[in-house]
């Protein structure tokens, strides 16, 4: 790795490799080549993310000055434990869902569009990684637009015509969100004359009384809440996840809102500062009811869905509620819970959407009523669905248990027993909507005229079971996830950028 000192350039390469990969992928034209190439690129980003996280854990934050222009004038890429952790999550999910994508895309999408789709995927990955790694507020907006525009493309290529309206709706709402974020960054800039996050943090703390600052925080919070699909600004999410191609649902459900939650944490704790965000402006009191409502309403609405992907999408709205609740506690265990749930929810929802994609591959239907008898005809797929569903409910020995445990501990530490009860109530509601699916798949006998369905192909099952395995592994061995999440939470509360 010492060749040309390339390891010094890892922060830039993390973003540049997928960015350069996208046009090359587009030029390849042959779908199989484009797929293999994008898997290679995504794996390279995974290796880089792993090395970056390892380095930051050993030696502390890394800073990279793009173009040799030093911060705060130039654009700085800054990797610490927090965003190193998110980079690892995003690249790992992207690589696994790309492995899954080939069989699924070939079944759902016209082969002429496949190279375009893979190029869009890599651009979307570029956007997520860029938003996560950058230490420059305006750069966040640029990468946000890259990831948003490419995710509209990815969603619109879905097999159903409704994917077009879903993508258009997401485009309209997402653009409003991005504009709000840009307005907030513009207001910050007008107050301080700087765009570097660490520099903003210092300069903003001197001027907390200004009306501009208050307006900027309002715009920022709403813009990020739209992107993170925080209740009641989640309306774009269910349709976008439901009608996107199966593998795209896996990728976006496990990463898109997570990166937005990361940005929320970064802006609230690092740029504005925990002291101002929560003691001066008491933003946690604004976020708390939204989190509670997201958990309750998201779960209840999920119970009434008859489309299985929509059920999972509303369940995502509820799970984002848990992450918001963790933030509002503003304590070490609360933040650890949020960061853990960020990772763990990606594992469970990734596995669930993969299992649903495999069911769609065989049955061509997303209706829950059409799942009858699949427990017998597709035993491996349904078992994967069952285990990751139990993880979502929060059964011990799965990742879902670990993050909910931290959240309940956080609520009890803060003397908010009612919050702990709401969290448990959310789990009970999750049992109801999962039981609905499980009952039909395992206990309803299908009619004799129904077409014969076989088990899903291995190319879909292997990535699914890798994620299911991760659900159990990280539920038992929490050293990596909880350890890093706790370090990152400490970093946020310490106020050091």
């Amino acid at each position: 790795m010492t060749l040309l000192g390339i390891d010094n350039h890892l922060p830039a390469l993390q973003v540049v490799i997928p960015l350069m990969g996208a046009p090359l992928c587009f030029l390849l034209r042959r779908p199989v080549l484009a797929w293999g190439f994008s898997v290679a690129i995504s794996s390279a980003t995974l290796i880089i993310a792993f090395l970056l996280l390892q380095t930051t854990l050993q030696t502390g934050p890394l800073s990279y000055a793009l173009g040799g222009w030093a911060a705060p004038w130039g654009i700085e890429y800054r990797v610490d434990t927090l965003n190193g952790y998110i980079l690892l999550l995003v690249t790992a999910i992207s690589t696994l869902s790309l492995l899954y994508a080939r069989t699924s895309f070939e079944h759902e999408i016209n082969s002429a569009q496949l190279p375009l789709l893979y190029a869009g995927w890599l651009l979307c990955l570029t956007g997520f990684l860029g938003m996560t790694i950058t230490g420059d507020a305006f750069n966040v907006f640029v990468f946000l637009e890259i990831s948003s525009l490419s995710s509209y493309l990815l969603i619109s290529l879905g097999p159903d015509r409704r994917s077009l309206t879903a993508a258009f709706r997401y485009l309209v709402i997402g653009t409003i969100g991005a504009t709000f974020i840009l307005i907030a960054i513009g207001l910050f800039y007008s107050m301080t004359g700087t765009l570097n996050m660490a520099d903003l943090a210092i300069l903003l703390s001197k001027n907390t009384e200004s009306r501009t600052f208050h307006a900027a925080i309002g715009f920022l919070l709403i813009g990020l809440a739209i992107k993170a699909a925080i209740f009641p600004l989640h309306l774009w999410l269910p349709n976008a996840y439901t009608w996107a191609p199966s593998a795209v649902s896996v990728f976006l459900a496990a990463t898109a809102t997570k990166v937005a939650i990361y940005l929320l944490l970064r802006f609230l704790f690092t740029v504005i500062g925990a002291e101002h965000s929560f003691n001066l402006f008491t933003l946690n009191q604004a976020l708390l009811p939204l989190g509670v409502l997201a958990v309750l309403i998201g779960s209840v609405v999920a119970i009434y869905q008859d489309n299985i992907k929509k059920l999972l999408a509303y369940s995502s709205v509820a799970q984002i509620g848990y992450m918001v609740l963790g933030i509002t506690l503003v304590s070490l265990s609360g933040l650890t819970a949020t960061l853990l749930h960020l990772f763990n929810h990606a594992l469970m929802k990734g596995a669930l959407f993969m299992a649903v994609g495999a069911i769609f591959y065989r049955t061509g239907s997303l209706r829950i009523a059409d799942l009858t008898g699949l427990g017998r005809t597709m035993p491996l797929t349904m078992a994967a669905f069952l285990i990751s569903g139990l993880s979502l409910i929060g059964l011990p020995l799965t990742v879902g248990f670990v993050s909910k445990w931290y959240l309940v501990v956080g609520a009890v530490e803060a003397n908010q027993m009612w919050l702990a009860i709401i969290i448990l109530l959310g789990s009970l509601l999750a049992i109801i909507y999962f039981w609905k699916v499980i009952e039909i798949a395992y206990f309803h006998h299908k009619s004799s005229e129904a077409p014969v369905v076989n088990e899903a192909p291995l190319s879909l099952l292997i990535p699914t079971w890798i994620l299911v395995g991760a659900n159990i592994y990280f539920g038992i061995d929490t050293r990596l996830t909880a350890g890093v999440a706790e370090k990152a939470a400490l970093l946020l509360l310490g106020g050091t950028p």
Partner: protein, 142 residues
């Protein structure tokens, strides 16, 4: 548009000037107002004007969409390639100073190449957008 002789003649006169002006904005961008994005839009609008007056088929014969797609990708690759060259020559990503013997000359060369990449991609995408919208009904009819 066959019978609009004035329109056709003036367009023929204007297009070379528009394209020349685009190239001026492109390559003079580091001394005066301008740059790759503006140049790309002006260049694209020259071709789009040709398409509007003489028809989509003739415009597509001048620059086929397949060529445009390659150009759009190449522009991004040129941009990123210049950035990576900075790394290979011992600087940071997008560090232009190491591109030539003297830092100022390197900066000059770097910004020129980067803007050329931007201009290529923007022009290609502008024309592709026009082709996509103008050809929309045609595809619908089969």
């Amino acid at each position: 548009m066959e019978h609009h002789h004035i329109l056709r003649t003036i367009t023929k006169l204007l297009i070379p000037i528009i394209l020349l002006f685009a190239l001026y904005v492109q390559f003079h961008g580091d001394f005066g107002p301008g740059g790759g994005f503006q140049a790309g839009v002006i260049f694209g609008s020259g071709i789009i004007l040709y398409g509007i007056v003489f028809g989509l088929d003739k415009a597509m014969a001048v620059i086929p969409p397949s060529v445009l797609r390659v150009l759009a990708a190449l522009g991004v690759l040129l941009y990123g390639g210049v950035g990576l060259t900075g790394i290979f020559l011992g600087g940071q990503f997008l560090d232009y100073s190491v591109l030539a013997a003297e830092p100022t000359k390197g900066q000059h060369l770097g910004i020129l190449l980067i803007e050329l990449g931007v201009g290529t991609t923007v022009a290609a995408i502008m024309i592709l957008l026009f082709f996509a919208f103008a050809g929309f009904n045609r595809e619908e009819r089969g």
